[in-house]
Symmetry: C2
Subunit: 188 residues, 2 copies
């Protein structure tokens, strides 16, 4: 009846960790579409092991970027402190942008995570949704955000922008577009 989940074997845990580290490297180097055999090789592990731990590519992608994204999510309360909702959302989006710009592959990763089948979908996307939801709700309450604003729209818009090809000047352009979007969220 209680929690019937045995802890995984020691070698399994080790390999899983090695795979995550290797994948982070390889994704940073060749993007999220990189060869999984390369990942396995660099982790010093057989492909079979990779596929056992992460049944699909998306599962690996998600696991690799999960920690970073959690940090973005966790920043919400701090940013909300002493700020009006809109200002907090602006600060948050700026921080999010910084993460995406810093961690190569994260833009693609976000898109990939959104794409994958709902039943396999990670826990990360809901947490992001929840983060935006909180920010938007505050803004609506204190009157700094339009009452008809929808958190899911805002998050998707951000992801759309983050996933644009990161050519030269990407970060500045993304910032401008985000500003446009946020301006659109202010009450008329």
């Amino acid at each position: 009846m209680s929690s019937e989940v045995k802890p995984p074997r020691a070698d399994a845990r080790r390999n899983r960790e090695a795979l995550l580290v290797a994948a982070a490297d390889v994704f940073a180097e060749h993007g999220v579409g990189a060869s999984l055999e390369e990942v396995a090789r660099r982790a010093g592990v057989g492909v079979g092991t990779l596929y056992r731990h992460f049944e699909q590519r998306d599962a690996l992608v998600e696991a690799v970027y999960r920690r970073e994204l959690e940090r973005v999510v966790d920043a919400v309360p701090e940013l909300l402190d002493g700020r009006v909702g809109m200002a907090a959302l602006r600060a948050w989006s700026e921080r999010f942008l910084g993460y995406v710009a810093a961690k190569r592959g994260m833009g693609e990763a976000l898109r990939a995570i959104m794409d994958c089948a709902p039943e396999l979908r990670s826990t990360v996307l809901p947490r992001l949704e929840q983060a935006v939801e909180e920010l938007v709700a505050h803004g609506i309450e204190d009157g700094s955000i339009r009452t008809d604003a929808r958190a899911d729209d805002v998050l998707r818009a951000m992801i759309g922008v983050f996933h644009l090809p990161q050519a030269d000047g990407w970060e500045a352009q993304a910032r401008r577009i985000l500003d446009l979007l946020l301006d659109g969220l202010e009450p008329r």
Copy 2:
């Protein structure tokens, strides 16, 4: 000195056309990442022929969606007629959205076109940029759009939104996001 380009042979033209038709089908069915051998097969043509006509995938993608996109571009003057810039831009984005929603694969295609190396880049992207530029310029002139608005930002934002995974409710959500964006373009 004059135009040294001979017209292509008849069979070449035939095959090119067959490839475009087949590719349109296959892309609509399996997305822009579909198998090119499948495209060749369905066109009743060898792969070699496909690669001779379209050296890279992006070239084929672009050719397939070019006509549709040209229609979007060509709508600009008509939409500008008797409308203020902002209104024309709204109407244009709505029309663009309609095209993307109707033609499966077009969202992906836009992204793919943006991605490909500049020197190989199609003539379509510049034409789209020019279209938005015209709309935005009018809007700035007649005071319906912020003076600091940048056409390239607007286009990229749109493409970002169009490329989001087209799940249920995509069109409505894309419309809301675009509205947000356009609201952000109105003078403060």
